[in-house]
Structure formats: structure tokens, C-alpha cells
Symmetry: C2
Subunit: 258 residues, 2 copies
């Protein structure tokens, strides 16, 4: 994608995200309609659904030939990544939205033939939009971001997933112990932003496509790596434990799997 194509998309998508933000804030002081999906910790509200519906409608109009993969299933049933594919999470960190009214995100990105091209990750309450395109750069709001320092695990904080820590999956407790401290945020999008900004050296969680597809494009553009715990490229159509990290921290984490 060339810079002017990105800028055109950026202008449009930023408007869509502003609209989604307005919709979220409009529901802030009223009771939410909440449903369980797979269990009591996997929830969806009418705000998630309304946001996805609107974003899908915008994409259908602006990019009619593209497939759409959304968390709430209002897009397409996507089985291959050929052609144009939008991946979106209309409200990432739903539990945080419900309980904390903080630490949740909106994420969307465009893949072409399986390659991430452009991405938008919006920290709603922090009012921080991370957006950029492959080969062009990443901006935090209007400021071009510099790649974060390539620190080892021992010199940084580590965002981990609560369930992975409790069950000690893939040596998560040892990874926490090797770092300067574990953090658990409860939103993949917000955790990605901490690594993008160099506030944390890694984020590890069991992630679904809409949880990591957007952050992956931004992270790689900033010189970070996004892999499985054994160093493979995660498929944007499947679920896996995903590591986003500095190059050094990722090597430290992979070495601990042996």
C-alpha cells in the first residue's frame, strides 16, 4: 500500500472509529444489556454488536469486494486470506468496559493476500489512536512513533494473560519471574499498546484473530516480533498463544520453552 492510499483509508477509518467511540460513550451512564457467550467471563454487550454492525456497514460500502472477519460474527465466514480481508474487534476488553469503564480498545486492520497492510488500534479512554501501514510507519495520534528499545525480558515488564499464569501454560510463571514484573490488563489491544510504546517488553496471551491481527501489523512495523511461543508465525485465521515482544525478549521467552 502506498502512502496516499493509506492516507485515504486513514481519513475514513478514523471517522468510523470516532463514531464507534461516540456510541460507546453514549452508553456510559446507562445499564448495559449483557449476554454470556462461552461462559461468565466471555461477555458481549449491545455496544459491541452495534459497533460491529456499523463498522461492517462502512466497510461494505467503502470496500465492497473485501471479506470481513469480526469478533461478533456480523461479517463473513472467512476460511482463507486470499484477496482483501478486514479483521476487526469492535470492543476489545469487554469485561473491562463493563466493570471498569476503562482499558478497552477498538481494533481494525486490512490484510491483502494474507499480508497485513494497514492497522488502527484505538485506546478509547486514553484517547490514543495507534495507526499505520506496512513500510510507511506508525503514528500515535499525530506523532510518528520511534521503535522501542530492544530490551531483554530481564529489563522490562511483562504483560501476561491471567488464565495462562494461573495454569502456568508455556512456563508463564517463570517468564513473569524473569521479567521486572508481571502485569495483567485484561485487554489485548491495550496490552499491545504498552509494548508498542516500550512500556513493557512483551505481551503473551491466548489470542483469537481479531485480538492480534491489528496489533501485529503495528508491532512489526516498529521492529517488534509477533510469533507463537515456539517462534512460528501465527495464522491470522486461527487461535494460539501469541507472543508480541522485543526481539531480545522474544528470544528469551522461546529459550524458556526448551
Amino acid at each position: 500500500m502506498d502512502q496516499s492510499t493509506f492516507q485515504q483509508w486513514d481519513a475514513q477509518v478514523t471517522q468510523w472509529i470516532d463514531e464507534a467511540r461516540e456510541n460507546i460513550l453514549a452508553h456510559f451512564d446507562e445499564p448495559l444489556s449483557i449476554e454470556e457467550k462461552s461462559g461468565r467471563r466471555d461477555l458481549v454487550t449491545q455496544v459491541d454488536k452495534e459497533n460491529e454492525q456499523r463498522l461492517v456497514a462502512h466497510i461494505r460500502q467503502a470496500d465492497p469486494d473485501a471479506q470481513i472477519l469480526g469478533e461478533e460474527g456480523l461479517g463473513d465466514h472467512v476460511t482463507e486470506t486470499d484477496g482483501r480481508l478486514w479483521i476487526l474487534d469492535p470492543l476489545d476488553g469487554t469485561m473491562n468496559f463493563i466493570k471498569q469503564r476503562d482499558d478497552f480498545a477498538i481494533m481494525m486492520s486490512l490484510y491483502i493476500d494474507g499480508i497485513g497492510q494497514a492497522a488502527w488500534l484505538y485506546d478509547v479512554m486514553g484517547d490514543r489512536l495507534f495507526h499505520g501501514a506496512k513500510g510507511i510507519g506508525v503514528w500515535l495520534n499525530d506523532r510518528l512513533m520511534a521503535p522501542p528499545a530492544n530490551l531483554p525480558l530481564s529489563e522490562g515488564l511483562a504483560s501476561l494473560s491471567g488464565p495462562l499464569v494461573r495454569h502456568d501454560v508455556d512456563h508463564m510463571q517463570a517468564i513473569g519471574a524473569a521479567s521486572l514484573g508481571m502485569r495483567i490488563i485484561g485487554s489485548a489491544g491495550i496490552a499491545f499498546t504498552k509494548v508498542l510504546r516500550g512500556q513493557q517488553v512483551c505481551y503473551i496471551s491466548y489470542l483469537r484473530p481479531w485480538d492480534f491481527a491489528t496489533g501485529k501489523i503495528l508491532a512489526e512495523e516498529l521492529g517488534l516480533v509477533v510469533t507463537t511461543v515456539d517462534g512460528q508465525t501465527p495464522s491470522v485465521l486461527s487461535y494460539s498463544v501469541v507472543v508480541v515482544a522485543t526481539k531480545q525478549a522474544q528470544q528469551d521467552i522461546i529459550a524458556m520453552q526448551a
Copy 2:
């Protein structure tokens, strides 16, 4: 303490905290001078020390007969709680300050004959001052706070300490599993604010006097409880695992210790 006495202290202390905030922000874009205390995860910067030095000087002038217990040891060697005692943490969450430039707090409170009377807890980057006095109320900036809902552990998020979770001290992993989700923030002050605001139903960590003395006054004034894991009153002069929680969540946590 009567309301007008609190208001007089509040006017003064708010100014001191503003000054401490200015000092922190002045160091934001320059390299910090960092020293290890007990180990690589227990750090102090010149900002912690400068802030404590200034706060101690202000208290000495405004309340010359009081004892002062501060994290960096620039106050007094306090062995009993008779009379007037100020307890302060000039920069709580030093690792977050160093690594994230976010999620850190300034805390100070006044105890008289061992009873918490007035407290100031400032979330620096969120610009949220939680302040109040026993029997008078708690304000978030200028807004009087309402007590948070008395939810059980199963209906809320739980802030826990990373080391306690890793070592599964006092059934911390089961507590996380019983809640709607674990969170780890890395600052006692910020974690207290989440429980005060009803965003989380509990916070459990191994805390030193300056970590919990301030939050305890505010929490109790809002109908929350602050105890050890076996339901005892923690001494503000000693170290222990401290639970701050809704009444229901505290009962759930105590029941899990049996």
C-alpha cells in the same frame, strides 16, 4: 477531625501534592537516577527522594509536633502510633514510573493516636485526587464519592500482586479463578483507586505501612474493609498481606483460607 479542620489541611496538602506532581513531570523526558534498594525490582529514583524531602519539610513546618513515617526514610524512626503521625509514599509504583511513565501515585495521610483521620491519594497521570476524612466523606477531585456496590468476589475483577500469584500465597490463584478476572497493576495506590471506584471488588498484596495506610482511611469511609487475609486489623506500623475489598468479597476471600 471536624470538617473545617479537614478543609484547612486539604487546601495545604493539595498544594504540596501539586508541587510533587510538577516535580515528577519535570523529570519525565530526562534520564532518571535509579538505585536498587533490596533488589533489582525494588528501585528508588531521585524523584522519590526529592518528593519525600519536600513533603517532609512541609509537614515539619505545618505540624511540628507530628511524627513522619515515609517510604524513603527521610522522616522519623517511628515505633509507636501515639499522637500525630503522618504516613507518606512520595511515589508509589516506582517501577511503573520508571518503565511506563504511568500508573503511579502519591499518598499521604494523618493518623492520630493510631486512628486514620485524613487521607490524600493522587493518581498522577490520571489526574485523580482521592481525598477525604473519617466521618466526613471521600471526594474524587471535587465530586463526593458514593460507596461502591457490595459485590461478591464472583461478580468482580480482582487486583492481585504478581509475586503472591506466582507463589500462590494464601490461595491467590484460587481467588483469581473465583473472580471475574485477575488484574495486576504494579502500584498499591492505583489498585486502591480501582476498588474505591467500584471497578474492582478487591486488591490483595503484601503491603508496607506507606502502601496501605492512606488507602485504608478512604476505603473504610466508603464502606469497604481493609484487613489481613484472616480478617484481622493490619497494624499501620508492620508489613502484612492486606485485603481491601467489598464486605462480601472480603468474606469470600477469608472463607477460602480455611
